[in-house]
């Protein structure tokens, strides 16, 4: 029946003012579709970012060396993984402040188990399990108990930081099996394994977010939770899931980080590490207002952040000044987000 209507056969009774624009829709649609892609301000900002990196690579000494690039990517992978987790959360207009401290706590617990059992697999799995459990706690608090994400995750951040220092006596957990850092901090054909894991997870998460029902429903919740509910989306489950994912990402980041350091300690994930994470997401187009953000954007944003940090290191910029610059970058990109919205409105 509906097909019949589409043919225009049964439209006789309708208002006669069929407008001419829709009639020529197929032609216009290709043009408007390309406009939709190219006119997308996010892409313009990404191109601008890439240009900056290219310029940096020419003018900064020692930047374009293999050692520097690989260390840069493996550095970016820990914050990048957590930034991916945060992207899911930020799309729903939530926030997960607990990420770095969860990474530290889960690595500490997992490494203790690994030290005692000398079993790498048990250690790695327990790192991820602890992080996932904390993520699930965040998720339940926000989705079921309707607590405010910022407060819950701030509290969890504090508890996790406190626990990490308490159970380790503020020292680090060492004595891990050699194969642990060999596997997760090693390299294949000169390419760091941590970077490979990061890229693999990023690709999976990108597909999950952009190509699956879960991903679409997640954006629906972010843009308008009420409409999503009317559409039949189980919003509670979605919100629970994203905090769980965020926790798991912190766990994976913890594995890579502990392998790189060959130990785990409370200093791995101090609350200020959150700055780098949120920088990556915001530069990549995520908006704290919700509904926006992509994995590709976040990955590029995290790499951009890593480049800036790296360049500052190469130039020997004072550690404390890097904070000022990072803070400035967040403000700048939040303002860009507003410009982006304005540009979007004009289209």
């Amino acid at each position: 029946m509906l097909q019949g209507r589409a043919n225009g056969k049964t439209c006789r009774g309708m208002v006669v003012s069929v407008n001419t624009i829709t009639e020529s829709a197929p032609k216009a649609s290709f043009r408007s579709r390309t406009k939709y892609m190219i006119g997308n301000p996010n892409i313009l900002f990404l191109i601008a970012g890439i240009v900056i990196v290219v310029i940096i690579s020419f003018i900064v000494p020692n930047f374009m060396t293999w050692e520097n690039i690989t260390s840069l990517i493996s550095q970016a992978s820990t914050t990048g993984l957590m930034a991916i987790g945060l992207t899911f959360v930020i799309i729903t207009a939530g926030i997960d402040l607990s990420l770095p401290c969860v990474m530290a706590l889960s690595s500490i617990v997992g490494c203790m188990i690994m030290r005692n059992t000398q079993n790498v697999l048990a250690g790695v799995l327990s790192i991820i399990a602890v992080a996932a459990a904390i993520g699930a706690f965040n998720g339940l608090s926000v989705s079921r108990l309707k607590m405010v994400p910022m407060i819950v995750t701030l509290a969890v951040q504090t508890v996790a930081a406190g626990l990490s220092s308490w159970i380790t006596g503020a020292t680090s957990v060492g004595g891990l099996p050699k194969s642990f850092s060999k596997i997760f901090a090693g390299s294949i054909f000169g390419f760091p394994i941590s970077a490979l894991i990061f890229i693999l997870i990023a690709v999976c998460m990108h597909l999950l977010l952009s190509k699956t029902i879960f991903g679409r429903q997640l954006y629906q919740v972010g843009v308008n939770e009420k409409t999503a509910k009317v559409n039949g989306v189980n919003t509670e489950r979605i919100i629970f899931m994203i905090y769980l994912i965020s926790g798991i990402m912190a766990g994976v980041a913890g594995v890579l980080n502990a392998a790189k350091l060959n130990c785990a300690g409370p200093s791995m994930g101090t609350p200020d590490k959150f700055t780098d994470i949120v920088c990556g997401v915001v530069i990549g187009g995520g908006s704290v207002m919700g509904g926006k953000g992509t994995i590709l954007g976040t990955v590029l944003g995290s790499l951009f952040m890593a480049v800036i940090t790296n360049v500052m290191n190469l130039y020997g910029v004072d550690y404390f000044i890097t904070f000022i610059i990072k803070g400035g970058v967040i403000v700048l990109f939040t303002y860009f987000d507003i410009l982006r919205n304005k540009a979007g409105e004009k289209r």
């Binding site: 509906l2 624009i21 406009k35 629906q220 843009v223 308008n224």
Partner: protein
């Protein structure tokens, strides 16, 4: 009132262009004191622009305005006030934390306020309208109808020679509307020039002495209300014929597809039972606050039910008990306020249309088929005459009527067994309204059972095959097609 003393307002060849649009072209209108001029037109016809020019919010590009034979230049709302022009907006613009008197005398509040004096003054204007609201009450505590009265009183306090009502009844109950009309008649007797804009033709016909129909920024027809037929008005508004609704009076419905039994959720709904038949349009009629939206939300599973059962017909046509969380899979739900919970405003049309039907686009793998989504959206946009440059257009840039059609498209795509429609034509112009009514009929023809909530008596009596009357969360009456008329409906709901 003698002819000589009558106030006059003459608008001569007014034109107004905005960048890229000619909002008004050579509009000339004459209006006299003691007359109500009804101004009608679809959205974007130029009614509001004209009123905004009179109210000093916009300035005309060309043309002249005369009041009592003298040319006036209205460059700001303050000027408008000076000439005694009062503007009453669609949604009352009031300061909710201030008192009624403060609101009414807002333009006279300077320095130290003499509350005794302004209370007396406010009382004066309120009683002019035959309205008894305490001047010391906070406006935020008043119901919306009384807030409107406060706004009218404010307009009166500024002279009130010329009053512009811009869709004042949009969010009114029947009673509040009656009250407003009484006030307008009162003001009419006092010799004010009144303009009345409304989407509702029957309202305009009821209250106005003269009718001016606008389309595309021009006056297309004007004359005395009793000399212009409704068909003429409609034709001129839309510039074409309006969709005629089918006569469904001889239809019978026997196959029950949906049954609600003893549905209770808190106070409302309270032990509600009814049945819907295949292809039937059932109206759910009740005043605001009667629990109609709550009933629909509970059926749809958005509000939690305390007790009761819902049965839905399966493929073979026999009724099966459904879990509350499953009901929504068989239903479409057009919500009462589309901006609130009907749309994803920043998204394109196709994304909105496909959004509740993602399950349909699952490919063999875990991924979604986007090309198919766009294709279907394109198809439905065409079939339902959604006026848009393309399916990639952001839905927030469409007019209300077209947004509503897009929402219809999104639910039609899901091919629901039962379609719940809460105020399907609220804030929609006459042309789109007729199209939406037609769509509902068409959908019923195809076998969907439709449950339509509407505050408009007209709409619900024209559309429904049967009407359920709801009051305080209870179904209090059921009215068959041949007994549907206004008196019966009004009598049953209070």
């Amino acid at each position: 009132m003698s002819q000589i003393k009558r106030r006059t307002l003459k608008i001569e060849n007014i034109s107004k262009s905005f960048p890229g649009v000619k909002a008004l072209q050579n509009v000339s209108i004459e209006a006299y004191g003691g007359d109500v001029t009804g101004l009608i037109g679809v959205n974007g016809a130029g009614k509001s622009t004209l009123m905004n020019i009179l109210g000093g919010i916009h300035q005309a590009t060309e043309g002249r305005i005369f009041i009592d034979g003298e040319e006036v230049h209205i460059n700001s709302p303050r000027d408008a006030e000076k000439y005694g022009i009062g503007f009453i907006h669609q949604d009352p613009v009031t300061f909710n934390y201030m008192t009624v008197a403060e609101n009414i005398c807002i333009s006279k509040l300077h320095g130290v306020v003499n509350y005794k004096k302004i209370n007396v003054e406010a009382q004066k204007y309120l009683s002019m309208m035959g309205c008894y609201i305490k001047p010391t009450k906070k406006v935020g505590d008043l119901p919306i109808g009384e807030r409107q009265m406060v706004e009218i009183a404010r307009a009166l306090s500024c002279g009130g020679k010329i009053l512009l009502f811009d869709e004042p009844t949009a969010s009114f109950t029947e009673n509040e509307k009656k009250k407003l009309f009484e006030v307008i008649r009162q003001l009419k007797r006092q010799g004010a020039i009144i303009f009345f804009i409304s989407h509702f033709l029957d309202e305009v016909e009821e209250i106005s002495d003269k009718i001016v129909v606008m389309r595309d920024g021009k006056v297309v027809i004007s004359g005395n209300t009793n000399e212009i037929s409704r068909a003429e008005i409609l034709e001129n508004m839309i510039g074409g014929q309006v969709a005629e609704l089918d006569d469904r009076s001889n239809k019978t419905f026997d196959k029950v597809v949906f049954r609600v039994e003893g549905l209770t959720a808190g106070k409302s709904p309270n032990n509600v039972s009814f049945e819907l038949h295949k292809g039937e349009i059932v109206g759910l009629w009740g005043l605001m606050g009667s629990g109609r939206s709550e009933l629909i939300r509970t059926i749809y599973g958005l509000d939690k039910a305390d007790s009761g059962q819902i049965y839905i017909a399966d493929e073979k046509g026999s009724l099966q008990l459904a879990k509350f969380s499953d009901v929504r899979n068989y239903c479409g739900y057009l919500t009462e306020s589309r901006h609130d919970d009907g749309l994803f405003l920043p998204w394109s049309i196709w994304e909105n249309i496909a959004s509740p039907s993602l399950q349909r686009y699952k490919t063999k793998g875990p991924f979604l088929n986007y090309a198919q989504q766009r294709e279907d959206a394109e198809k439905y946009v065409k079939a339902l005459h959604v006026k848009t440059p393309s399916i990639y257009t952001k839905i927030e840039s469409l007019s209300g009527g077209n947004q509503q059609k897009a929402i219809m498209a999104k639910w039609l795509l899901r091919k629901p067994k039962v379609f719940l429609l809460d105020e399907p034509t609220r804030g929609v112009d006459v042309g789109a309204k007729a199209e939406i009514h037609k769509m509902i009929q068409k959908l019923a023809e195809e076998g969907t059972a439709c449950l339509v909530v509407s505050s408009e008596i007209e709409e619900i009596s024209v559309l429904s095959d049967r009407i359920l009357v709801i009051n305080r969360g209870n179904i209090v009456a059921e009215i068959e097609k041949d007994r549907i008329d206004k008196e019966v409906l009004m009598a049953n709901c209070v």
